[in-house]
Symmetry: C3
Subunit: 266 residues, 3 copies
């Protein structure tokens, strides 16, 4: 685990450009800021090229689509990759909503993202595996093995890093696989924690010197651990107080916390 | 009062589809989630039919209109009713802004919502009664009787359940009327609490087996009581801390709380 | 310093109309509400004229541009000035993004705003001075003198009040200059505090009887002091808890607090 990436985020202060889920964009922007990076959200095609060049990492979230934004997402994906910037895709809801899957398939005709992060149902739908999902929620799976297979299949199919989040987070390339185990079930009760993680993956990808697998691992570890630490300190809080404390934990979490409490394989 | 609807929300976890007020959509989504349902916000016509079919309830909020969203609202209203899903309309600002009232009149040419929730000024404007309102704010009326009449008139005119919120919440069909009395004046200082209630009415309507009057009553009772309990426990907090605690109270409130503290007639 | 403007805000409860940064609009709306005014956000051209007439002050924020909103901003600027309403412009990001500067130059062909608030890099770009800026962030400058010159130059060029915010806030007309010194560096870690201040400047401008210089001074003083008081009371909190407490401090701050703790020249 490349623990020094956390310090690198705080030193480099990378700018992360987002096409955001409009519902959760305030939490996402503040999550990016809390961990030590600079958020920028755009919906303006005139500035897309300038911002893609300025950015150190990009996150495209499809939580709230519309026709105009879909075109922007395609343009931004292409521009960012042309400038060698890592692009995280968060395919919100494609496991349950065929029209969202159709858009992602359209998007992939333009280019493939560097990293894809979703729950098991979303990633399964990308590789044509059926998976029982309810709405767009996460799945509490007991089937880690098949999640591993789906993650690897996705990475192979789209030549990307794949992150499948749930009770355990699974990070895969076509050849490598890794898991992070920190977290807490309260994450599922606060809207937009998945969106936050996707943008934080873009933060760590941005400082990873091209080692996006390691960047994604660190993002999952830190995000899950931050939430776990909050619930250890204040076990009886609800989702809204959790959200505030999670942001502030991201602001203060350090390498010592990870060394002491982090749970991950390899 | 059908107290068992609260448990039904938590067991069934209904998906509530929203055309949202963009300013308050994060609070609204988290309010839906806190009470035990699943929020989804959309602005994407391609997915509207799929989502209307998946949803258990719908809320259309006109707090931030634009031409494209207006067309979506019309389409969603029709689709949802065709699929027999209850639709709550929150006609934000129609008491003060004629162009918003004009849009609602347009919308009603397509179909009538199942439930309308507004403040006295908004509901009065729907039935052609003049009512002194300041901007889009709630009115502290001392005239319960005439609120009852306006609520009933609205229900009769549009064949819907009408909810008029204020110090007292009034829930009416053309024949029935009921009131809930819990609440606290701090609700008026936090932007979007009315929007939250409208979507929570959709939550309870979704599990009411078609008894939308009872669903709306339970939503008003629980929402007002949750806020009242917060202010009883922490009487000196401001609107922002209130917002966090309100969400977390919605997450934990239970039938015993309602039996003990709920104030309502019949 | 016209301390009585604070009481005037709470008595008059002015309605402030915003074309908002979509990322931060919830915080901005709640900031306007906390200080004692009424927020309204619009993106709907049909209601623009009605709302411009109803409003007591206007804030146009360019943090999240798109073509349609750009046209709305032009229309609203003209309408509001025609109705003699003060208009605050927050030119987010123009120091770093040429396409945003281009839009502002376009906007200024329609009319000049009453007040412009930005960081030193943003205001410098408006008067053609180069200024080292990183992204759209504030600059910790040690060069108060040249900030003064830039602020005055901006006021002269556009015949407006200029507010340059940073460690010290600088408020200038072409002839007058003033500074407020309260604040805390945590402001820079919470996304949208600048946006909040811009809309709160519109609040105080709205009750200033046309003395926009004095209105802007009071807004900067109160906003900076509110944050400083939060950090004096709870020095170890993070940016998210700060945001909640800042809003609640704006809700309770009073003239006595300003007399006791306010730091400003002349």
């Amino acid at each position: 685990m490349k623990l020094d990436l956390l310090q690198k985020v705080r030193t480099d202060n990378p700018m992360i450009l987002n096409i955001a889920n409009s519902v959760t964009q305030s939490d996402v922007a503040n999550g990016i800021s809390a961990i030590g990076a600079s958020p920028l959200m755009t919906n303006y095609d005139a500035e897309l090229k300038t911002l893609a060049q300025m950015a150190s990492g990009v996150c495209i979230n499809i939580g709230t689509l519309d026709e105009r934004q879909n075109e922007l997402s395609k343009d931004l994906l292409k521009l960012a990759l042309d400038f060698n910037k890592p692009v995280v895709l968060d395919p919100v809801g494609i496991g349950a909503v065929p029209e969202r899957l159709a858009f992602v398939e359209d998007l992939f005709k333009v280019a493939k993202p560097t990293i894809i992060r979703g729950n098991a149902g979303e990633i399964a739908s990308l590789v044509g595996v059926s998976w029982s999902a309810k709405g767009i929620d996460s799945i509490d799976e007991g089937q880690t093995k098949s999640v591993d297979e789906i993650a690897k299949a996705c990475s192979k199919k789209f030549d990307c890093v794949t992150v499948v989040t749930g009770v355990t987070d699974t990070i895969a390339t076509r050849d490598l696989i890794s898991h992070t185990f920190n977290g807490n079930k309260i994450f599922t009760t606060r809207v937009g924690t998945g969106d936050m993680l996707s943008s934080i993956i873009a933060v760590f990808a941005a400082v990873s010197d091209g080692n996006y697998f390691e960047g994604a691992k660190m993002a999952c570890l830190i995000f899950g651990l931050a939430g776990e630490l909050v619930m250890t300190e204040t076990p009886n809080i609800g989702p809204a107080a959790f959200s505030t404390r999670l942001l502030d934990q991201l602001y203060t979490i350090n390498t010592e916390d990870i060394k002491r409490w982090g749970k991950y394989d390899e």
